[in-house]
Symmetry: C2
Subunit: 558 residues, 2 copies
């Protein structure tokens, strides 16, 4: 049997006008700002008018540690959203926007897959509604104003060696990682070394995704630490007077984007912060708006539950005052097998033993999610090569952990394949069992917060950090940043910092190599390994084959 | 009497839904891609469907050499468009898009002024429909792919010292003018010196504005010369295989943007190439689409007629197969006075003698426009301080040159102030007097083309260029580029290359310092002075005061 590709399915979508999708949610057309006929932003006044409504239930979709086999977290998020609508619930999906740059490196794109997708797929993987371009502009305006300030006399006494604010571009361009700017003599400024990150790594992105409204956005932008003086006292974005103009550049980007699933159910696709040096969740404003408009909001977080769900809980929910009602943990038979030691090439053959051997990775995530006080169900995202015995092995294992695993076939059948999971999610969310508790209180010392995550979530023996890291954390505590949560930047492939340690490893420590302050976003980043903030293009970038075909459709992007 | 500011007037605009404006032109709503409720792009299939319709009349609005007094070329373009509609003609305005970056330097913005404006003003001066962001992305994708090609082994044998393709950003950022990239060791590439230009200076911008359709766009992108080998043989964008992906990034940007005037008449605002190193006109696709939809199309070109109208005629019209039916030459009493030697501070006092003394600048432009075989009328853009005697002095002078000057009060009165000019333009355009002839034939040698422009348009004694320039032009002729037109990059303030030489100077030569090949855009650039392709911010950038006010309106941008 031949299967259609994601893009073939997406192109066959019977999209409804976006105004009609908005009407389903009760958004009047004058409060939907269209971008074409299939995308729209929700207006600020409309969002403000919802303040007094009660919230729907919040469901987080997270996953085991990712493997090259693929888990289908977004696919399951979309499928569950459609499934809840199918069983008569009013549900909205909230996912992240895609970054443009990486699509020109490796074939990528897509928002979901099979019959569980969000459309329009091409636009969502290209410029979409321009949010990331606005973030790029706002970020780089601040950069230009910093160098301009130094150029015109440096009244703020910025130490040019300590400008920590770099520039960004939504492009995989390794040539820009490390650059010298201001060359060319008197008219061009004072040469200094700096670099570019990809736009999704910008603190502006994290700020936009954590802000409640435009006022909060401007305050947080003002809080960004851009540089230090010789005496190491900080200089803020506010001192450069860039926060107002940055807010103007971001005023439309701050509004959530409404699109639809293949089954014409509403989806907010908004924001896309890195899941390592940032928190990897869609925007707070989209999630909060969705909660006012729907009975169920299904959202996802980046990477596996050790990173994504942990940050969703400890950063996004804590700071935004959100509390999830249920968690869906996505696993696949194939990923269990890889965790059990099978190579990707051998995934096609039945291997129940390997499935059983890999299950402890899933088990640890189940326990971790429960530690936040939120009920959890496992979704087995079905692949056509999965055998009944393998699926049963996962179910049995999950049952032994006191939870339930449900086989889901949304990839092949859309909402019809995910009814059982949908009913289970409703049951959990309505049970009142959730009693959300973050992993640590605000007032815990910063290093202790890192240690708590390492112990509770990673199950590590301890944290290793040199004196400079300890001293820096202490300095930030003295400067008033001690109440911030910690954003862990660690490999997504393992509970440990060694990407090759699959399963549920023990007997390891977590080395913290560096800490960074994201004062505007409102977290401390603990860097526990190589973190690449500007990707490069591969030897044969997919850009070489991306083109318009004779019908005007995009080829090569997917 | 207190006058309202442009932004106050713009905010009072009674905008009609953009679908209604499109309907006036016969564009079905499914072929208008909305961006909010007041901006839309016209679909590719709709434009293709117009091919067999006959064209309306094309009217160019140009001006004398700009002075700090302001001439009001865009204001007159908008006013005339409204005026033609007022007298019962079906007219469309075609103007350029604004660049985002410079708005954060000096207060700027606006599209027209007073009661002759195009709206929505804020959006047009911020991200608008994202065209410039798309151009930035397409340009920088090519840049990344060039460095990536070198990184992975440099199969094309690019001489890293001869990469001529730089990067762009839509920002005034002098720190990026001259940079070293690829620092940081083996993983980041081979260090080399390069720089950033502002996006409007990108050859991609010029290409987009000169392309007939997406196929033509991709071909021209492929033609870009990005680098040379050691043997000086060229390497094209096509060799890097970036042309397909760049076209994908530009597919929406290629579609003309429809907005409206304060009087709810249609305006296409599309493209914005530099008027020095590029040709400074709105897009060919917008102009051609407008000609199919309206009886009259009023468009403008950058700077004064010596640069703007010359390039409009010799580059845009020649290459796009367009022929203007009439030209409106905008002048002001104030600008005539400045050309006559009056300082800006003294412009308020009546000075008929100075007006008369400055008129030869206007006279030379009149003669130049006539040399293209197109009938011309002078529009005196009225300022409230102008006296009757001063206005009469201009009228008398223009009559002595065999043309007519008409006083226009569109700034104060909108279309009601520009009826006389509108009738005159109709008379000229319908007279059949136009017999468009470019200044030089395609097959003239490149240096001879430069000399022809210098003689016919600037009235210079000759052109000075060293042997390297002559040799380069000859090399390009041998490489098959001899048929291209020449794009002059010269100060806009004078017919000469000395910005202080106002009026109608004689006895000067034109030094050509450098020549550049824009093989994709399809012209040779002759650089006759300092050309800044990346502006800087001033000591007090307007970004410092740009902000959202309590009503959510943008303050400080205008």
């Amino acid at each position: 049997m031949a299967y259609k590709t994601d893009i073939e399915i997406a192109r066959e979508a019977k999209k409804r006008p976006i105004m009609e999708i908005g009407a389903k949610l009760g958004i009047p057309s004058e409060h939907l700002l269209p971008y074409g006929h299939d995308k729209a932003k929700v207006s600020q006044p409309f969002i403000a008018s919802l303040a007094d409504r009660k919230n729907g239930k919040l469901v987080l979709v997270t996953a085991i540690n990712p493997t090259p086999a693929g888990e289908g977290k977004t696919t399951t998020t979309v499928g569950l959203g459609d499934g809840l609508n199918r069983i008569g619930k009013n549900a909205v999906i909230c996912i992240r926007e895609a970054s443009l740059g990486p699509n020109f490196g490796m074939k990528g794109g897509a928002a979901g897959g099979g019959y569980a997708q969000v459309v329009p797929m091409e636009e969502m993987n290209l410029h979409f509604t321009g949010d990331f371009h606005a973030i790029t502009s706002a970020h780089n305006l601040l950069s230009a104003m910093i160098d301009n300030h130094i150029y015109w006399g440096n009244e703020l006494d910025i130490d040019a060696r300590r400008v920590v604010w770099r520039r960004v571009m939504d492009m995989n361009d390794r040539a820009l990682r490390d650059v010298v700017v201001n060359l060319g003599g008197v008219a061009n400024g004072f040469p200094r070394q700096t670099g570019f990150d990809i736009t999704v790594a910008s603190e502006v992105m994290a700020i936009l995704c954590l802000s409640n409204d435009l006022e909060d956005l401007q305050k947080r932008l003002g809080d960004i630490v851009v540089a230090y003086r010789r005496d190491k006292s900080p200089i803020y974005c506010r001192d450069i007077k860039a926060d107002g103009a940055m807010t103007v550049l971001l005023k439309d980007a701050m509004q959530p984007n409404l699109v639809q699933t293949l089954e014409n159910n509403p989806a907010f696709v908004h924001g896309g912060p890195f899941a390592n040096i940032a928190h990897g969740c869609n925007s707070v404003i989209a999630t909060k708006t969705a909660l006012k408009l729907a009975d169920y909001v299904v959202t996802e977080a980046g990477f596996g539950a050790d990173l994504g769900a942990e940050k969703f809980m400890n950063i996004k929910c804590r700071k935004a005052g959100l509390a999830p009602d249920a968690v869906v943990l996505v696993a696949t038979v194939r990923a269990m097998k890889m965790n059990g030691g099978v190579a990707k090439a051998d995934l096609g053959a039945e291997n129940v033993e390997a499935v059983q051997k890999g299950c402890p990775n899933l088990g640890r995530h189940i326990g971790n999610v429960k530690s936040f006080g939120v009920p959890v169900v496992v979704a087995i995202n079905h692949f056509v090569t999965d055998t009944d015995a393998e699926v049963q092995a996962v179910k049995d294992y999950v049952a032994s952990q006191g939870s339930e695993a449900i086989l889901c076939k949304h990839w092949a059948h859309g909402s019809a394949g995910v009814e059982e999971l949908s009913h289970k999610v409703v049951e959990l969310a309505e049970s009142g069992a959730a009693n959300f508790t973050p992993s640590y209180p605000d007032d815990m010392p910063l290093m202790k917060k890192i240690e708590t995550i390492a112990a509770k979530i990673y199950h590590a023996d301890g944290v290793i950090a040199d004196n400079a890291v300890h001293a820096q954390l202490q300095a930030w505590e003295e400067a008033g940043y001690g109440h911030l949560p910690v954003c862990m930047a660690k490999t997504q492939y393992s509970f440990s910092t060694d990407p090759n340690l699959r399963g549920a490893p023990t007997g390891f420590s977590v080395p913290v190599r560096e800490v960074r302050l994201s004062a505007g976003a409102g977290f401390i980043v603990a860097i526990c390994g190589e973190i690449m903030t500007m990707p490069g293009l591969p030897r044969m970038p997919s850009a070489e084959v991306i083109r318009l075909n004779a019908d005007g459709d995009v080829e090569g992007l997917f």
